[in-house]
Assembly symmetry: C2
Homo-oligomer: 252 residues x 2
Amino acid sequence: MKQEKPSLDFERVLPHVSIDCVIFGFHENQLRVLLLHWKNSHTWSLPGGRVFRDESVQAAVYRILEERTGLREVFLQQFYTFGETDRLKNTDFQAIFADFGFDLEAGNVLFDRTVTVGYYALVEYSKVRPTPDFFTDECRWWDVQELPELIFDHKEIAEKALQTLRRQLSYQPVGLNLLPEKFTMPELQKLYETILDKELDRRNFHKRMLAYGILERLEERRSGGAHKSPYLYRFDLPKYQKALEEGWKGDW
Amino acid sequence: MKQEKPSLDFERVLPHVSIDCVIFGFHENQLRVLLLHWKNSHTWSLPGGRVFRDESVQAAVYRILEERTGLREVFLQQFYTFGETDRLKNTDFQAIFADFGFDLEAGNVLFDRTVTVGYYALVEYSKVRPTPDFFTDECRWWDVQELPELIFDHKEIAEKALQTLRRQLSYQPVGLNLLPEKFTMPELQKLYETILDKELDRRNFHKRMLAYGILERLEERRSGGAHKSPYLYRFDLPKYQKALEEGWKGDW
DNA sequence: ACAAAAGTGTTGCCGATACACCCATGA
DNA sequence: TCATGGGTGTATCGGCAACACTTTTGT
C-alpha cells in the first residue's frame, strides 16, 4: 500500500498534544511490539500521531491503530501521559520535515513542545497488517526483549507500558485480542510467562485459570503437534467482560 | 491573602493542555477533597491550571498544589488524561473572562479545546492553608461523599481519582502525607475504611498492617480519649518508600 | 463499677504451591 | 517404544478471615 504525501492540514490538528501507542502482539511464544522505521534514518519509533481538533483523544488512538494495523477490535488502555519539557530535545523537526518536502517556517506549531498520551493495545498478531505511513518505510514487529534504538522518550514509554500490562495481569484477565479465538492452555500460559518474563507451574496455572471462570473448553483438540493433543479453549465473552470491569483480588 | 489580577501572559502558557488536581485530605474520620468556588457563580471546581511552556507537567502540578495549599511535600499520582471533545461544552469562556475584566477576542487560544491531565494528591489536612486564586473566592474541603455540583467533567475526574486511590490501596501503602506524623492504629484504620467505604476488622487490620513492616511503634500513647489509650505509630520512611516502589501482591 | 475502646491470641478455611502420575502422539 | 508434552490429582503450607478475651481509661 502506497502512502500519499499528506496535505498536512495544520488547522485540523490540535497542537501540543500527541499520542503514542505501544501495540502488543503475541507470536511464536514471543511478546512483540509494532514499530515504525523512519525513511532515511536509523531510528525507529512507536506508532503515534496527532489528535484532530474535533476528535476525542480516544477516537484518535483508534484511528491511528486502524491505520497501522487495519484493526478496530482491540483492547486499549491509556497508561500515562508524558509531559517533560525535554521530551523531544535535540530533534530538528524543521530539517526532518524539509527532508520530506515540507517547507515549514521555524515557528510552526508542529515544532512546539508536545505532551503525549500513552496507550497500549493488545492485538491479534495474525490479523494485523502492518502498514507504514508517509514518513516511514517499514512497519514491523519486534521482540519486546530486543527493541532497537527508539526516538525521543519512546523507550521509556514502551517500558512503562509493559510495566502497566504486567500489573494488569495481576488483577484483570488478559488474553482476549492477543490470542486467536481458540487457543490451548499451554499457549495461554506461554503468553502469561512471556509478559511476566517468568516461568509458571503448568498444573497450578491450569487450575487458577479455570477457577477464574472465564474460559470455555471446547470439544476439539489441537492435533498436529508432536505430542499429546491439547484441548482448545475460548474466552467466555460475557464473563471475561465482567472480570475486566470488576477485576479480582480487589478485596481489601 | 489577596489575589492580584494576573497578567495573563498568554505567551507563557502552553495551550490545549491543562491540569486538574484531586487533593485528598483526612479529617474527623472523613476523606475530603479541596474545591474552589468561582466568584459570582454557584459552581465549584477542582484546583487546576495551565502548564507553562518551559515547565514540565509534573512541575506545573507541584506549582499549582503549592499555590492552593502552601505545601510542597505531598504524595502525587497521575491517574488519567481526559481528552473528550465536549469536556468544556456549553461554557462561554469569553463571557467569564469578560466578567473578570479580561477583554479577549473570541479566537483566543485559551478558549480552545483542552486536554486535561488528572492528578491526585494526598496531603496532611492540618498543614494545608486553602488559598483561592483570582477567579475564586473560596477554597475549602468537602466530604468526598457529598461533593457539590462541579463544572465541566470534574465530577467524573474526581470519581476516577477515588477509584484509582482505592486500587492503590490494594497494592501499595497509603497513609503517609495523609496522616500526621504520629498516629494511632485505629486512626489508620479509619482512613482505610473511609477510602474503601467499608468496615474492616480491627484485629486483622492490625496484624496485616504490622505484617507489611512499614510501621514503627513508639513508646508514647495517645491519652485524653475517653478510653484505653492507643499506641502511637509512625511510618518507617525507608521501608515505606520501598513498599511504594515495589508494591505488594504482585506475585502471580 | 461500668461502658467503650484498644491490645492481643486462636482457630479454621481456602487458595496457592509443590510435587507425581498417567495418557496421548509422532518419530 | 520412547521421548516429549499435556491432562489431572494430592498433600502441605501460609495468609487471611472469623472470632473471644483481657486491659485500660474516663465518667
